[in-house]
């Protein structure tokens, strides 16, 4: 029953979950969910909450609005209530983060249009939509990329994966020049398996101006999004994007530019048993195939490593992002498959100190 002064937003959120449970639906539902309403109408309780935030009735500043939506998110059990609110308000004001807004922007009253935009975006966040999908964009190193469900959202750890490849390439170049190898500037060919939004591929193209990338993904949505991001960054001439499933399709097409210098991948590596405990943000909106690596999280990793010898140049490298439990498992697996001629050259930690990146090298015969 509706009581006067009921917090409408809380009601809507509860109704949503209850409906889903009653209808016997799994936690993962289609983006957009069951709710058809346009957005919560502010109950008298809510509008007075907003007005009480500052002394000037009707005028709200960025700080007021951030505080307001933080409280709404907290009331509705939305994780990262403050961060979500800050990112949404900053976005509407044309900034990347709240900290980057100058003090003038923080004090300027928001227009009605801006407040409406913030409301629209916040409604999506109230459905546990990840902030990156709410905003439709996110940053990866120096790039701003379009984001769209269900294409996998790049994680911050993966920025270091890109740096590792760049460092290895410059180390190879230095080594070659010190050995007095003459010749033109090398044009490294990189294969990315599972390109998603194109974060890794496009970052590499930017940091290595002479490189070219072949990017593949088994999902059409990912192929399309990578293409869109490549065009926005004017990198479409240097990337070849293929709708291709490495588990089932012939690898011949991947050799269109000859043997490959680097294979890079952030393959699905979550252990299947861990999938159910992922946050609602992930389960409801992201492509679970981009995460689920099978029983031991190694299904796609093994596929890539089995494929690597026929694709890589001698002394070529595979760079993988993995679960912290994988380095030992991969080492053992490679030793059990000596015919692949691949060795685990190095394990690198992520910024939280967890073993996260593997550098595997193809031995020269």
């Amino acid at each position: 029953m509706w009581k006067p002064g009921t917090d409408f937003t809380t009601m809507r959120c509860l109704t949503h979950l209850l409906l889903r449970r009653l209808l016997g639906l799994s936690p993962q539902c289609m983006p957009g969910g069951l709710s058809q309403s346009k957005g919560p109408i502010l109950s008298p309780k809510q509008s007075s909450l907003r007005q009480s935030c500052n002394a000037r009735p009707g005028l709200v500043t960025a700080t007021d609005v951030v505080n307001y939506w933080q409280k709404v998110f907290e009331t509705n059990g939305i994780p990262e209530a403050r961060e979500s609110s800050e990112y949404i308000v900053s976005f509407v004001l044309g900034a990347k983060t709240f900290q980057s807004l100058n003090s003038k922007s923080l004090r300027t009253p928001l227009t009605a249009v801006q407040q409406e935009q913030i409301q629209q975006l916040s409604n999506k966040r109230l459905e546990r939509m990840p902030v990156q999908y709410v905003l439709g964009e996110w940053d990866f190193q120096d790039l701003t990329l379009k984001m769209r469900p269900p294409v996998f959202i790049p994680r911050p750890e993966t920025e270091d994966l890109v740096s590792l490849v760049v460092e290895e390439e410059s180390r190879k170049c230095e080594k070659n020049s010190s050995l007095c190898f003459p010749g033109p500037v090398p044009h490294p060919v990189i294969l990315e398996i599972g390109c998603g939004s194109g974060a890794i591929a496009l970052s590499l193209l930017c940091k290595m101006p002479q490189s070219r990338v072949i990017a593949v993904d088994k999902e059409k949505a990912a192929v399309d999004l990578t293409a869109e991001n490549a065009h926005r960054l004017q990198l479409q001439e240097r990337i070849h994007i293929l709708h291709h499933d490495v588990s089932y399709s012939s690898a011949k097409q991947l050799l269109l530019w000859g043997p490959i210098d680097f294979i890079v991948s952030n393959p699905p590596y979550v252990f299947h048993e861990d999938m159910a405990s992922l946050d609602a943000e992930i389960l409801r909106y992201e492509d679970l195939d981009a995460l689920d690596g099978g029983d031991d999280g190694m299904r796609v990793i093994k596929t890539i490593l089995a494929l690597a010898p026929s694709l890589l140049k001698d002394s070529g490298s595979v760079f993988l992002e993995v679960d912290p439990r994988h380095p030992d498992m991969v080492d053992k697996w490679l030793q059990a498959h000596p015919n692949l001629l691949l060795i685990l050259h190095a394990i690198h930690k992520d910024f939280c100190g967890k073993p996260r990146f593997l550098h595997i090298q193809k031995q020269s015969r």
């Binding site: 961060e83 983060t97 900290q99 750890e157 270091d160 943000e281 992930i282 679960d323 910024f351």
Partner: protein, 128 residues
């Protein structure tokens, strides 16, 4: 990571005290969870502490962890330099120089205003 610090040192032409990763303590609001694919947290704020001096810098300028780490090191390096060198720090000298420029500009603008005012007054007198 060494490359991050090298970037900080190369950025400007100032001669600042070098920082080593060993003297830094970095914190991310990423929590103790599994991290990686299993998490989708958006808080990319970096908190960086210089252990010997106790100076702490918080950086959330961008939505990229890597960029925030680089920027945090740049800001921290400037603060540490100021802390140990005081007025001898290039940072201090630059700030002083820019403040001086600002004062000069103000003084000149004031002078111009006075001159214009005086000129106008003289014109009025001539008309009479």
């Amino acid at each position: 990571r060494v490359p991050l610090l090298q970037a900080a040192r190369k950025k400007n032409s100032f001669n600042l005290l070098g920082l080593t990763e060993a003297e830094l303590e970095e914190q991310f609001v990423r929590g103790d969870g599994p991290g990686g694919q299993a998490t989708n947290k958006t808080n990319n704020c970096v908190v960086l502490k210089h252990i010997p001096s106790g100076i702490v810098v918080k950086c959330h300028q961008t939505r990229s962890v890597e960029k925030n780490r680089k920027t945090a090191r740049e800001i921290l390096q400037e603060k540490v330099d100021l802390f140990y060198k005081g007025e001898d720090s290039d940072i201090f000298k630059e700030k002083k120089a820019s403040e001086k420029k600002k004062q000069e500009k103000k003084r000149r603008a004031k002078e111009n205003l006075e001159r214009k005012k005086h000129f106008k007054e003289m014109q009025q007198l001539d008309k009479k």
